[in-house]
């Protein structure tokens, strides 16, 4: 399996020049870049993701002086400021219906009210708990499974057909099944998030183990390393960056798919807030919920990037 998954590795041991520290560039990537959908969309995601990362890093890496960094910073926030301006002006001039798209200032006020009366915190917490549970579960189960599949041929041969089948079954399609089996409560939502998160982690882990530079394995073997030490000292560290690509994708999924689950059947959570606001025609609240989710996704991605960097400072790209 995992043939369709292009390994999202760096340039390997021989690539790259001295570290030009193309840091911080990734934070600007939209949280919702990868759509949780069919298997093939998931499979392709890491490649596109990585390409974008490299592009941004290259751009950032070529600019070193403080002045140009400042220019870049202004440039980036400029787009956001423009977006905010358009959002504010268009409803006010009547170009779009202010009932369906209220001006940004009204949305922010509604957000502030939600924050003050504690409802936002309540929904936020409900969503976060579900996301983290499913995401954490996926990490704990999918990484060891991925390592086993990547390392032991028989395990891969045994599990491949089943995994291939489920990989191409959309998580959304399975939500009714999860609800039937686990009920409308927390369990079905956590399982749903877990299911969606497990795939990118699993597939990237498998590919991380499979695509370890053969020369490194050969070199380690020539120094007399047995299979266990080889796995511990070469395969695992070499696979870390690819595994993290999967973790980062899963982090985005964990929030994206949860919202869907909360719209189908929930009494709390940001997805519920959005859906409920729309049903009861509290349109500014609805937008407040959407903004919160975007911010949450962004923050989560930044956090994971930070962790990733700590674990793979040696990466060339």
């Amino acid at each position: 399996m995992a043939d369709t998954l292009t390994p999202a590795r760096g340039a390997g041991p021989s690539g790259g020049t001295a570290g030009d520290g193309g840091e911080n560039a990734d934070g600007t990537r939209p949280a919702g870049r990868a759509v949780p959908g069919t298997g093939s969309a998931r499979g392709d995601a890491p490649t596109a993701d990585d390409r974008a990362t490299n592009f941004f890093r290259t751009v950032a890496g070529t600019r070193t002086s403080v002045a140009s960094r400042l220019v870049t910073g202004v440039n980036r926030s400029l787009a956001l400021v423009l977006l905010a301006g358009v959002w504010e002006v268009l409803p006010r001039t009547g170009a779009v219906d202010p009932v369906f798209v209220p001006p940004l200032s009204e949305v922010l006020l509604a957000w502030y009210d939600l924050l003050l009366d504690g409802r936002l915190a309540e929904h936020f917490q409900a969503s976060l708990t579900r996301s983290f549970s499913g995401f954490g579960l996926a990490i704990v189960l999918a990484i060891p499974l991925g390592l086993a599949i990547g390392w032991y041929r028989p395990v891969a041969d045994f599990l491949s057909p089943v995994l291939e089948l489920f990989r191409n079954t959309s998580a959304v399609a399975l939500l009714p099944v999860f609800i039937l089996i686990f009920g409308l409560g927390e369990t079905s939502k956590i399982v749903f998030v877990f299911y969606a998160c497990a795939w990118p982690i699993l597939l990237n882990t498998v590919s991380g183990v499979r695509t370890v530079e053969p020369l490194l394995v050969k070199s380690a073997r020539s120094m007399g390393l047995g299979p266990v030490r080889l796995f511990q000292k070469v395969i695992l560290p070499a696979a870390v960056p690819t595994v993290f690509t999967g973790i980062r994708l899963a982090g985005a999924y964990s929030i994206l798919v949860l919202i869907f689950a909360e719209m189908v059947g929930a009494k709390a959570g940001l997805g519920y807030l959005i859906q409920d606001s729309q049903f009861s025609f509290r349109i500014p609240d609805m937008y407040a919920g959407i903004i919160t989710i975007s911010a949450l996704g962004l923050l989560f991605n930044l956090l994971l990037l930070g962790v990733e960097r700590r674990f793979s400072t040696w990466r060339t790209t």
Binding site: S14, T17, A18, S219, R221, R229, K233, P237, W314, T316
Partner: protein, 299 residues
């Protein structure tokens, strides 16, 4: 450079006898000395199964070669003649289909820390610093942490990279990476150093300085070195003996003793250097033609 009379270059006495024979070509393996050779390759052949073909692929066949203790032997041959296969066999990474390989008279049955390999593509672990890379083999040897660090520093110093210990491989130039790789192979103190075109990926200047450096290190450490190259000049410059291989299936065509009266100055300008060069070139020319023909027909 000084003190480079080939015979008197090193203190260890083993196997210097045959060196001073000038350009006489010795067919087959060099005459065995009284004590057993450091590396003994006895009628070794290796065939591979090829996917989608019934015919097995014979990489090397009927190889006989002795490498004396402390000797620097270079191995040249046309591309695809099985040089690297032969090195893998000596390293114990693959097993011969027939024949046997002896180290100190004992048959090789797998990789071991008595042999160190240096690859063309460095094969450094990108997640480890230069020092940690050098320590790798010492970890495999279960050397205590403190001693590991000390020895790694010593060898880093030996290859002239003092002060670069905390750099990651991607922060080093190609030449520096290869120095680290050489230090890593020396650090666990193998008797034999197997080098597979280690300088082929480097630019000419870096290559020359590393060649000199390697000779210096070899003199200092007294290792037995088997050095694969496709450069005739490199083979003559480095080797006490040059083994010329045939095209596939690779055999040893001729082993040539290389001896210079003095290595003062520019060795490559020595008229005898040109003689060796021409001799080896003639030996290789026909083999290269055959090898190219093979590549065309097999595709």
């Amino acid at each position: 450079m000084s003190a480079h009379g080939r015979a008197g270059r090193r203190g260890t006495g083993a196997g210097r006898g045959a060196v001073e024979q000038g350009a006489s070509a010795v067919p087959g393996h060099g005459a065995p000395a009284a004590r057993p050779a450091k590396i003994g390759i006895r009628d070794v052949g290796k065939t591979f199964r090829v996917r989608g073909s019934d015919r097995p692929f014979t990489a090397v066949d009927g190889i006989d070669l002795d490498v004396r203790e402390g000797e620097f032997l270079t191995l040249v041959g046309p591309s695809g003649c099985g040089k690297s296969t032969l090195l893998d066999l000596v390293a114990g990474l693959t097993a011969p289909t027939r024949g046997e390989i002896l180290i100190d008279g004992r048959a090789v049955d797998g990789p071991g820390l008595d042999r160190g390999i240096v690859f063309q593509q460095y094969a450094l672990f990108p997640w480890r610093t230069a020092l940690a890379n050098i320590e790798f083999g010492l970890e495999a040897k279960a050397v205590p942490r403190k001693e590991r660090r000390e020895r790694a520093r010593h060898y880093l110093d030996l290859v002239g990279l003092d002060g670069f210990g905390q750099r990651y491989p991607h922060e080093l130039s190609g030449g520096m990476r290869q120095r680290v790789a050489i230090a890593r192979s020396l650090a666990f103190d193998p008797d034999v150093l197997l080098m597979d075109e280690p300088f082929a990926a480097l630019d000419a200047q870096t290559r020359e300085s590393l060649q000199e450096e390697l000779l210096r290190i070899w003199e200092k450490t007294g290792k037995t070195v088997v050095f694969i190259t496709h450069g005739i000049d490199e083979a003559i410059y480095l080797g006490q003996r040059v083994a010329v291989m045939t095209s596939r299936p690779g055999r040893i065509k001729r082993v040539i003793d290389v001896a210079f009266d003095s290595r003062e100055g520019d060795l490559r300008a020595d008229p005898r250097f040109g003689e060796y060069r021409h001799h080896i070139w003639t030996l290789l020319r026909d083999e290269v033609a055959v090898a190219q023909e093979q590549e065309r027909t097999i595709g």
